[in-house]
Amino acid sequence: MSTDSLTFIFLNALIINNFVLSLFLGICPFLGVSAKLNTAWNMGLATTFVMFVSSLCAFGLNILLVALDMEYLRLIAYIAVIASAVQLVEMVMKKFSPTLFRALGIFLPLITTNCAILGLALFQTFRDYSFLQSLVYSLGAGGGFALAIMLMAGLRERLDLSFVPDVSQGAVLSLMLAGLLSLSFMGFAGLGS
């Protein structure tokens, strides 16, 4: 498979190099918002949406920065523009689609400081992705995040019903589960060759 093909970029971001389980991006929400499957689903959806929007913004912004020869302002510009874009989307959503806002609203400000978003914007720039490739990459990465957080939530919901020693409650258990998930995702390596 060619490394530039859209299918490959999508699969690569979704499972081979999963943002959470192999690149360690977005660990905070992955551990923090994965107690209930329902919330995890909403979080995954909101993150994918924000990734898509920021990927668009970052692509446009990068063209501008390269044209002006001001690449050294890239980081500052990305974080500022992504944060304001999300804020804007939040306001528009509140006005035009209150149902969607109720489901995703509380997650949006949290997601802005999620390193997966900035990571996505930086990676697509480093790899010189075209417009279409960037969009596909953002969807793959968002899908991968949603997949990981939902798998995690499913496991944790089941573990709620079983007996776990006091000493390994909470973060310890979550990290061990994440390790096992990450181990199983390593099995997807080699898929692209």
């Binding site: 690569n12 190099n17 302002l73 500052i76 390596a189 080699g190 060759s193």
Partner: protein
């Protein structure tokens, strides 16, 4: 600017913008200052890293010239120009062309592997490879960087062109460990077949595309000899 106490009323929009403006100004000045100060050192570091890689894959080379490879031919460029695939021509102490270094990449086991490899038009063979970027499994796939038995493959890997000069005479392929019988075959590392195959694939793809062009442009490369 105002100095709000915790109970102050809403400050005017102007003062909000003024604060942000001042902070942005300070940060802009700081960033540009550091950028200007560190730029020479950064470029020097990159140059050293690049030359170390080029001189590893082109034994005997002591200086190099960059070219951009396009359909029309080779064009001399400097380090700052980044667009398009590049060819680094290496010259020895007496100024003779020792070979050209080229970049190639393909999907490995975990992620994309990027290498630099040397090609000597004189012997029509690949003279060495060095891995620029790889995330292969430690202890298995990452042996492509260090395993001496594997790297021996690339000391004189056959890259002759066919009679018409449009393609390689023999496709470069990776074969199972211990099964190498021809000079255009690569002996895979046992336990790291996927990574070894990726190297073979990227070399073949890159060679099929660039070797014919380089042979056509050989005169231009030797012209630069001093």
């Amino acid at each position: 600017m105002n100095s709000p106490s915790p109970h102050s009323t809403q400050p005017s929009a102007l003062s909000l913008i003024a604060t942000l403006g001042v902070v942005a100004l300070i940060s802009g000045v700081l960033v540009v200052l550091v950028y200007q100060l560190t730029l020479p050192a950064i470029l020097e570091n990159r140059r050293i890293a690049l030359e170390r890689a080029i001189f590893t894959v082109l034994p005997g080379a002591r200086s190099r010239i960059n070219f951009a490879l396009t359909a029309e031919g080779l064009e001399r460029i400097d380090d700052q120009q980044t667009d398009g695939p590049r060819v680094y021509a290496g010259y020895d102490l007496s100024g003779k062309l020792t070979g050209v270094a080229l970049e190639a990449s393909a999907q490995g086991y975990q992620d994309i592997i990027r290498i630099l490899y040397g090609y000597s038009p004189k012997c029509s063979c690949i003279t060495g490879i060095t891995v620029l970027e790889s995330k292969e499994t430690p202890g298995l796939g990452d042996k492509i960087e260090t395993d001496p038995e594997f790297l021996v493959n690339f000391e004189a890997l056959d890259g002759r062109l066919n009679a018409t000069g449009e393609r390689l005479n023999n496709e470069i392929v990776t074969v199972k460990h211990g099964k190498k019988s021809n000079p255009w075959e690569i002996d895979a590392i046992s336990g790291a077949t996927v990574s070894s195959k990726a190297i073979g694939r990227m070399l073949n793809n890159s060679a099929q595309k660039t070797f014919p062009l380089i042979m056509q442009q050989l005169q231009k490369l030797t012209q630069e000899e001093s």
